[in-house]
Subunit: 169 residues, 2 copies
DNA sequence: GCCTCGAATTACGTCGATGTCACTCTCCGG
DNA sequence: CCGGAGAGTGACATCGACGTAATTCGAGGC
């Protein structure tokens, strides 16, 4: 939406991330990436697969989404719920990725900034709250890129390089 | 642990809840109750099954635990994680059920009282937090008992009858 | 333009968490 | 003491979310 990243028939090499690379960076298996792409959970936005032998191309933003999915899975959340959430998340996710928490309350999802809002939800809501700090998602992706492919680390937009110093692997 | 509720060979009729009843009150299918009992997730504490034709007997506390499980499932959490959590929960669950929140942070679980503690966990933790208010669990069980079987409603210990007024079904 | 390498695809298997259904056995009332 | 109702059991099927292995086919190097 900001750069010239509309679907191009031939993305420049080195632009975006291939399937295997993306899976490695995010920390999932290739099979998961493939399954997610086929079932429409995370479709590569630079280039989708067009048959055997073609290449998927994932944007940096795609990596963030995939990492968010993995974090939710690691937290014991079913993929089914993740699917529902991401419909909402994609519409409401802007550039302020690093300062927002995703809160899943039953069927609804909200993006909140402060912890006080969470306490509000806790007081009013009857059920379970699932909270994902998006800052950690970005930090983990950036750390993985730098560790695995330092050359392409420029994809992470500038100004957040300081928050990566915590990643250790 | 407080009353004389050790395993008795013949529990008095009307004491505790049978399998079908328990499932109805908690709001799960009988198959789920059965599966949970077989796999050791929630074992009826008054009388376990001893073969075809025998009867399971669930205590009120069992109902609370099952309702907690259902709430977590409804929130999109995998049963596998629930199993891990309940090992901890059973050890640390006291009479203050109505004022505590269960917080699942990765592999660890904690019981917290105030919302401030949750914000602390949010700031320090890297991953997802799952929060279950136990008060709502008790409220839902009590409401269901009163609506379905008002005669046996004395099983819910006194002093909480006021908190049931919110239940509507 | 061909050839190979790597990425996608297909086919098949698996495992957990149930739904369905027929069957068996215990308990309780008559 | 006997019969039926109801509760647990077993066998089988299902569905999502992958794992594994073999197969295919586009894309870039020569």
């Amino acid at each position: 939406m900001s750069r010239q990243e509309n679907q191009r028939s031939a993305p420049a090499p080195g632009e975006g991330y291939g399937g295997r690379r993306a899976a490695e960076i995010v920390g999932i298996t290739y099979r998961q990436l493939d399954y997610w792409a086929r079932t429409g959970l995370i479709v590569p936005s630079l280039a989708t697969a067009t048959g055997s032998g073609s290449r998927r191309r994932y944007s940096y933003r795609d990596l963030l989404e995939m990492r968010a999915v993995k974090s939710l899975l690691d937290a014991g959340i079913r993929l089914e719920l993740v699917r529902e959430v991401f419909g909402y998340l994609r519409e409401n996710l802007h550039e302020d990725v690093a300062s927002v928490n995703l809160v899943i309350s039953g069927k609804r999802s909200v993006l909140v900034q402060t912890g006080d809002e969470i306490i509000d939800l806790l007081a009013k809501g009857q059920g379970v709250l699932n909270i994902l700090p998006l800052a950690s998602v970005k930090a983990q992706v950036d750390a993985a890129i730098i560790e695995l492919y330092p050359a392409t680390a420029s994809d992470a937009d500038a100004g957040v390089a300081d928050s990566v110093a915590t990643g250790t692997a």
